[in-house]
Symmetry: C2
Subunit: 603 residues, 2 copies
Amino acid sequence: MTPSHLLSRADLDFLLHDWLAVSDLCARPRYADHSRETIDAVVDLSAELAEKYFAPHNRKSDLHEPRLVGQDVELIPEIGEALERFAAADLVGAAMDAEVGGMQLPYTAYLACMAWFYAANVSTAAYPLLTTGNANLLLAHGSDEQIERYVRPMIEGRFTGTMCLSEPQAGSNLADITTRAEPQPDGTYRLFGQKMWISGGEHPMAENIVHLVLAKVPGSPAGTRGISLFIVPKFLVDDAGSLGERNDVVVTGLNHKMGFRGTVNTAPTLGQGLHTPGGRPGAVGYLVGQENTGLKKMFTMMNEARLGVGLGATALGYTGYLKSLDYARTRPQGRPVGADPSSPQVMLTGHADVRRMLLAQKAYVEGALALGLYCARLVDDDKTGSPEESAVATMLLDVLTPIAKSWPSQWCLKANELAVQVLGGAGYTIDYDVEQHYRDNRLNPIHEGTHGIQGRDLLGRKVLAGGGAGLAALTDRITATCDRASGTGGELAELASLLRPRVTRLIEVTTALAAVGATDPEAFLADATEYLEAAGHVVIAWIWLEQVLALGSRVADDADAFAAGKLRAARYFLRRELPLVDAKFDLLAAGDRITLDMRDEWF
Amino acid sequence: MTPSHLLSRADLDFLLHDWLAVSDLCARPRYADHSRETIDAVVDLSAELAEKYFAPHNRKSDLHEPRLVGQDVELIPEIGEALERFAAADLVGAAMDAEVGGMQLPYTAYLACMAWFYAANVSTAAYPLLTTGNANLLLAHGSDEQIERYVRPMIEGRFTGTMCLSEPQAGSNLADITTRAEPQPDGTYRLFGQKMWISGGEHPMAENIVHLVLAKVPGSPAGTRGISLFIVPKFLVDDAGSLGERNDVVVTGLNHKMGFRGTVNTAPTLGQGLHTPGGRPGAVGYLVGQENTGLKKMFTMMNEARLGVGLGATALGYTGYLKSLDYARTRPQGRPVGADPSSPQVMLTGHADVRRMLLAQKAYVEGALALGLYCARLVDDDKTGSPEESAVATMLLDVLTPIAKSWPSQWCLKANELAVQVLGGAGYTIDYDVEQHYRDNRLNPIHEGTHGIQGRDLLGRKVLAGGGAGLAALTDRITATCDRASGTGGELAELASLLRPRVTRLIEVTTALAAVGATDPEAFLADATEYLEAAGHVVIAWIWLEQVLALGSRVADDADAFAAGKLRAARYFLRRELPLVDAKFDLLAAGDRITLDMRDEWF
């Protein structure tokens, strides 16, 4: 079999088993039905389905974007077939409880499966990502009856789900949403308003679409404390689970995007009067939990979606890397510096500058994948570890989520930029996949919380939580990794010596910024993005050190190509990328006020 | 009049007059017919034509890319109309000699004009860019009869030009081209071969297309020393200038690109037998100059094209900056950190992180534009200065050209990435221009010599030319600027103190690399790209210091919005961007061998 150009199965094996010891999880009651064999089987099945049903229509989706015809959306049929195959393999509920029809797979294994689908076709994979997130939110916060009515059909692949947060006038700031939910005598609500940027908001591939909608009940507190969460199905569902009347949630426009074009992106209107369920105006909505607790609930789903976005960015970077590597290995072009011009051409990999671009990609995408799976392992520990393990995992996951979302969104996009560059002019054409990956990946620093919002989340909320316990949990782990590497000696000790001073600086700079925050919250967060990026590089350097430690004795064996590659990528990242954080830490330490003091009229 | 969102007229005025003193050039005989008034008038006219005839079809060109129908290419008609307007304003020959129909405008003013067209519609502007470059090459190296027959009609807008270098099997390395030119008894040649990546290679917008083709005469030396240059017109031209037979240069395929879609990109075949001029096989070609001197001649055109590419990248970055600034000033979104959630929304510019993204763009695009015009000024000095001025200008231009091509291609692409980010989800849709600018700009690090090739050019050829005279010419100027800034005191002295140590390091690192080059040419150039990027940042920092010096006493006046903005952008660049070079210099100084030693099987 030719190796896949989507992901490296060998790398996944290494991360899942040699490093993260996922099969150890099977000793825990929740995962008792699983073993290394069942986990590997579902990863293999995902790889196969991704290659067979997702990858082949990736370009076709891009060239034939969804069309709005009346109230309906038309899509290429291959998307629907792919989703059927995905659901038929029980993958929607792969990580969910067996009692609701799930496979109860460790979350780490589940994300490894999803990575294949993202790499093959991120636009098509977005539909199950949203559906799973929606279902998980209802499993956490919905009533038994809501779970029976909406979640089961989603797991079975009959319904899909969306999350409806943004509005045209509100964008990133949910405090400003104006969608109105009016309570009805029967305990339901009627919703009126306009939503924006809703992926999967309308399509013909499911019997029903379950929208999770943020709205405000009249009289609620101002700002985010007055937001409630509602289920708004496209078709009303009766007690027997049969579909009834068409609800008044109607897509009134599509957004046409630079990439991610197979994922229909909609502007749905609620309660416009195009339908009148029960003969009355408004979109019928069912409250999830209590009023005014909607945003907190939505965050259950958003955190998961953020890990998903990070992993999607990673998968795009990864497949771009493998495709540009394949091109570079098979494309004759030029000669090494100083060679006789009549000597035969060498492959592109024969040029140091091409190897530089490939090494950079390798360092970014393998580092990002490792971080994503590490976070997934934390989700497993959070859910099934001992109370102590769970508490630490919660804290670490809080700190790492903004990084796991933003770092791959930035650097695996950069990887795609380099993949295009390796192919040169060919990479700029639609004859190769890499230009599409680059366009698709450009969405990731924007959706599910922009890059800037991740920075404010990390610095403003996460690292200082519990009096700095969030940061301490992270830096303690990094220091422990450095200690292990130093103890090993040789090059590992050398790499650890590159990381240690940057961890110290991260702690110092965080402490200094916290002091600023006590008196000047605006100055405190003015450069939160720079902080996010510096912390992200420190975290990825740590993850690289973790990976080379996990190689054990293989690390010194240049005949072991996998291990030799990991060591070079780690070396590349710690020697060439990590030092870039010093200038950022200097800037943060100096308290530069240039962006704060800049006036509008000076631009 | 609302200010343009293409470029800043005030910035151009400042650069052309306050800084580069372009009207001083009018004291030189070549430019004696010009004055500040005539220069300003042609810049204004360019701005007007760009807004009126180039900008309006920029999106349409992107949505309706060129189609190959038989041997012909179909384009949207607006492109042809724009080119007619351009030629009718005498802009093709704006910088050329009056005796061939040119306007004899200073090159600096000419590039300022071109920037408007690039900002408005880079795809359409590529046609005159290629035509002008082609004409200039023939003016420099063609015979009087070739000039009469081909250049005059190009200046008049009746013919367009191309440059045909690449071939499918050769890509960046021209030593491997195989197009064959067989000498004929009448002194002409017959050409046979396949070219690739030829912009403007076929279209219906001109009476004739003049291809400049690199080919090898059988028996010529191997490698680049055996390359000759030929004129291959689409239609043969008789002595009276009338069009005759169709030549056998036929487009057999189009490349479909991620951006730059209005510029048709073709794969032309020569001598395939689809036409048989004079009843004989082969495409008729006319030698330019002597055999085996083609590559050197082509470089006349490539250097100009490289400045043009850099300026095109700059213009795309500049218009993206102005459009994202406009959006940020008019889009209400959120509140400053810590504000009451019931207080009104502020504009996006009210957020420090948005101001950061705008300042970064401003620093990149205004820095790049200044560098581009500075290089244009060197072209003028090279051509019309005293012998001493001319010699210095030649040397500086040699060193600066790879930077003027690559730096904007990298950092104004980054500016477009930030412009998309400022607009958020809206920026990712085709409802706004910024996503197209981002896609268009991604070509610039690839064509006219890839990013990697610019690095090898700078380090391998330019800085060490004349025993390091190239580098010395540059660093002497930078040091002189630092001295002036130090003499001024205050913040300028402070900014100079940030630049000085980096100039010292540039010299040290170059000297160390030259020593490596004496024994190990591959190691010497292995990290030429890192060198290029570090040198580029030093140069742009210098150009920023030059700009603030040119403000004179305005620099301290915060009520002078233009001056205050320049100072902040300079401060931003020198404080936040320049320090990034330290890690690159450290890497270069350490002689890291990681990319050299990486083996194919380790990826």
